[in-house]
């Protein structure tokens, strides 16, 4: 018995010695050194409802063959707060992927925890990408304590909205294009009360909007910025060095509110604007419900978006106008900021020696090969090039696989990692076309170019300024909407009282912190 025990113990010890290297880190590292480097990438999908690139996507093999990288992809959830939860949970478990898209708010919390690595040294290692994607504004966007912790890639196109007016209605009523706020009010009244569509019904309004708010365009939000711009108080923040601070605290904000209140009281703004969602708003202008609006270029002029309006009103015509000038000469379509998509590298990835490989991958993505592959797919399968070298979805053996068709969309899910709003992208994105009913030539790109020539308020970086707490935000939004709906009387005295209360609840603190942050980060103009 004793002998059997001794033999068993000896066998176990021998087996342990033999098997130890199999489970040790050292052996795994050696295996890694000879095989491809695995890079886990959490990306923001270009088309949320389309699936991820298929498992046999040609890009995986090309990246493996050329870069010796095994790319593991995860599409982040479409909703920003879901993205934040996923990233933060992984961060808490020190399980962040190697490369991941992250919102600046979250990045701000990851940096002090040492979970993300500085990327300043990567710019030199990626000359092609850096030249196209990263300027000084981009680098400072994710800079904390002198170091940049995220690669801020260009996001959505800036200044891509405009103030539009129904020219056919102006012509019918014998009105000129409004240039001032008074003229704008006169046109709104005419559009509301003078039956511009000639159907004999009181079913049209002057201005159409919906509440669309964000960090830098607080209530009532983007759609009404041209009204507030006429008073120099468009956007949440004034980003000028001489007058920096929350616009709501400026005396002109009351004047802008008074004009909006007048529009509401006279019934010349579509009364549903407080209830509309984006889709309702867009359905409404296509149904001819109002004649003045602020709209995005593609939402207005791209093929399928314009088609319903074209069908309903073949003789209808929208024109892009200058923002109305206010009593003191101010005018603006609204504030603009530089939108970025930040990609951060986890400290874990750097520790595992993957930083250079990540740079190699990103640089390859910016090369012609990566740019076209990720942006449009495989030439001849997902796109062809026209005479000007612009990718088009034409002359393909299987049109279902075109980059713009449902079958081809999955292979371009990473396109936001390579696009930088260059001319090729814009021409491909917004091709010229002839409308189905009125046979007009339309181009969302031409519309964009015109919109960008209008007067805008520079507010780069205002979207990174501190945000109010939920209670203060609610007080802000609810208070302003109550002034407009008449629940609170909009008098100078009431306004001042409400502003005092706003300051007391934390508004002053929010203002002071915002100004300090803007100064600290050189964001003021």
């Amino acid at each position: 018995m004793k002998r059997t025990c001794t033999v068993c113990i000896a066998l176990v010890a021998l087996l342990s010695l033999v098997s130890l290297p199999l489970f040790s880190q050292g052996t795994a590292d050696q295996a890694k050194a000879s095989g491809p480097t695995t890079i886990e990438l959490w990306y923001g999908a270009a088309i949320t409802e389309a699936g991820p690139p298929p498992a046999d996507w040609v890009g995986f093999q090309i990246i493996k063959d050329k870069l010796n990288i095994e790319l593991k992809l995860t599409a982040l959830p479409s909703n920003e707060s879901d993205q934040d939860v996923k990233v933060q949970a992984a961060a808490a478990a020190n399980n962040l992927p190697d490369l991941f898209m992250v919102r600046r708010d979250v990045l701000t919390r990851l940096v002090p925890q040492g979970l993300v690595a500085p990327v300043d040294d990567l710019y030199e290692k990626m000359p092609i990408r850096t030249a196209k994607h990263y300027d000084e504004v981009s680098r400072s966007h994710a800079r904390f304590n002198g170091k940049t912790y995220g690669l801020a890639d260009p996001g959505s196109i800036t200044k891509n909205e405009g103030l539009l007016v129904r020219k056919d209605w102006l012509d019918k009523l014998g009105l000129a294009v409004p240039k001032t706020t008074d003229e704008l009010l006169a046109v709104m009244r005419a559009f509301t009360f003078d039956d511009p569509d000639g159907n004999g019904k009181h079913d049209t309004y002057g201005y159409g909007a919906f509440q669309e708010i964000n960090n830098y365009e607080a209530w009532p939000g983007r759609r009404l910025e041209p009204i507030f711009g006429a008073f120099g108080v468009d956007g949440t923040w004034n980003m000028t060095a001489s007058n920096a601070g929350l616009n709501i605290l400026k005396p002109e904000f009351f004047d802008a509110m008074s004009l909006l209140k007048q529009m509401a009281d006279e019934g010349i703004i579509d009364p549903n604007w407080l209830a509309y969602k984006k889709d309702d708003f867009r359905a409404a202008w296509k149904q001819g419900r109002f004649g003045i609006m602020r709209e995005q270029n593609a939402a207005f002029a791209a093929t399928a978006n314009y088609a319903p309006f074209d069908k309903n009103f073949p003789d209808g015509e929208w024109i892009i106008i200058d923002p109305p000038t206010g009593p003191k000469g101010h005018a603006s379509i609204g504030p603009y900021t530089a939108g970025f998509r930040i990609y951060a590298i986890s400290a874990k990835a750097v520790k595992e020696g993957k930083k250079d490989k990540i740079a190699e991958l990103l640089e390859w993505m910016a090369s012609d090969e990566g740019y076209y592959l990720l942006g449009w797919g495989v030439e001849g399968v997902n796109y062809t090039k026209d005479a000007n070298g612009i990718p088009v979805a034409a002359n393909l053996p299987n049109p279902d696989l075109a980059f713009s068709a449902p079958g081809g969309q999955t292979v371009t899910q990473l396109r936001n990692m390579v696009f930088y709003n260059g001319d090729i992208e814009l021409y491909a994105r917004y091709p010229k076309y002839i409308t189905a009913t009125s046979k007009k030539e339309m181009s969302a790109l031409d519309v964009l170019r015109v919109m960008q020539t209008k007067k805008w308020t520079p507010a780069v970086g205002s979207d990174t300024l501190p945000i109010p707490n939920a209670d203060l935000k609610r007080f802000y939004e609810q208070g302003l909407s109550e002034f407009i709906t008449g629940k609170r009387s909009l008098t100078r005295e009431n306004w001042n009282k409400w502003i005092d209360e706003f300051k007391r609840l934390g508004g002053q603190d929010w203002n002071d912190k915002g100004v300090a942050f803007a100064k600290e980060n050189n964001l003021l103009n």
């Binding site: 886990e40 959490w42 999908a45 088309i47 949320t48 409802e49 389309a50 699936g51 991820p52 498992a55 992809l73 995860t74 599409a75 959830p77 479409s78 909703n79 879901d82 939860v85 996923k86 949970a89 992984a90 808490a92 478990a93 399980n95 992927p97 984006k278 889709d279 309702d280 359905a283 409404a284 296509k286 149904q287 593609a298 939402a299 791209a302 093929t303 399928a304 978006n305 319903p308 069908k311 309903n312 979805a393 980059f403 713009s404 068709a405 449902p406 969309q409 999955t410 491909a428 994105r429 917004y430």
Partner: protein, 306 residues
């Protein structure tokens, strides 16, 4: 002295007792309330259905002219959804999570509930306490995430259902039901030489069809609808279940930058959204009528013990 027997009042009067005016009034109020409730439920449902059949060229997404019935029916949205590989894949993943989850949850909940229902179990009170503590004090997202990660469940469908495989609430309901089964039945089986497992399998379970169906349904609904765990634990997009896809569809802007087709072709995005909501609800809608007969019986029997 002879006492007068009061007639019972209220909705649940026996057939032999003639309802009073007060009964009628009460019943009317209840009926009106229920009708109101029905309208609140039915109108959005009907609105979703009509929206899902919206034709391609229908302009606008409100219900004008299409409230009672679409003036023109179109199944483009359903065709697009069913023809989409992503939707089929997500549906399949959800079915796997549903089946795996319900089976696992019942396999774990039934024995635990049975053990807790045995009054002579040593330390029963402490065991109950141990189970109730996490019910009252949730551990939170990060510890759960760490646990799932350390168990190697990231990117496994089991990560969606395993952490919630024993719901304390469901377990307590089932325990109460088991406690309601006459002890004599168990005793007689034991006298006949049955082990505890045989008592559970041969005596308790055949008598507990109602509670098993009911709790199974509870689990099924929660696993079918679970978005959060799938979002957190499944990084491999090929494993994404229906709620994730559904959320992505609902978040879709409907404005592709190129030629204005969405990932489901040229069907209107509003119709796609409505159709996907409706289709994801179908399995549960189908399951309910079959299980409904057990439903009241299962939950009520458990709540009354002698």
């Amino acid at each position: 002295m002879e006492q007068k027997i009061k007639k019972p009042k209220g909705r649940f009067t026996s057939v032999a007792v003639r309802p009073t005016a007060a009964d009628h009034s009460f019943n009317l109020v209840v009926d009106i309330f229920l009708m109101g409730l029905l309208v609140i439920i039915a109108v959005p449902l009907w609105s979703t259905i009509t929206l899902s059949f919206r034709p391609n060229d229908y302009i606008g997404n409100n219900l004008q002219g299409m409230f009672l019935a679409p003036w023109q029916w179109s199944n483009a949205a359903y065709k697009a959804l069913l023809g989409n590989a992503g939707f089929v894949l997500a549906f399949g993943n959800s079915v796997k999570i549903l089946i795996g989850g319900v089976v696992t949850a019942l396999l774990l909940t039934i024995p635990l509930a049975y053990v807790l229902s045995i009054h002579t179990l040593p330390g029963r009170r402490y065991l109950n306490l141990l189970i109730i503590i996490p019910y009252v004090f949730n551990v939170g997202m990060i510890p759960s995430y760490l646990l799932v990660t350390n168990l190697g469940l990231i990117d496994k469908l089991a990560a969606v259902f395993l952490p919630g495989a024993i719901s304390t609430y469901n377990c307590l309901i089932m325990r109460s039901f088991f406690e309601g089964i006459p002890n004599e039945l168990k005793e007689s089986a034991r006298i006949d030489g049955a082990t505890e497992i045989q008592v559970l399998m041969l005596v308790i379970l055949p008598l507990s069809k109602a509670i098993i169906m009911t709790i199974g349904l509870f689990y099924g609904v929660s696993f079918w609808n679970d978005f959060f765990h799938a979002m957190l634990y499944l990084n491999n997009n090929q494993l994404q279940p229906l709620p994730i896809l559904l959320r992505n569809i609902l978040m879709a802007s409907g404005m592709n930058e190129y030629v204005e087709v969405n990932a489901f072709g040229d069907a209107p995005i509003a119709a796609i959204k409505a159709a996907s909501v409706f289709m994801s609800a179908i399995p549960m809608v189908i399951a309910y009528p079959f299980i409904q007969k057990y439903f009241t019986k299962g939950t009520l029997l458990g709540s009354v013990k002698g």
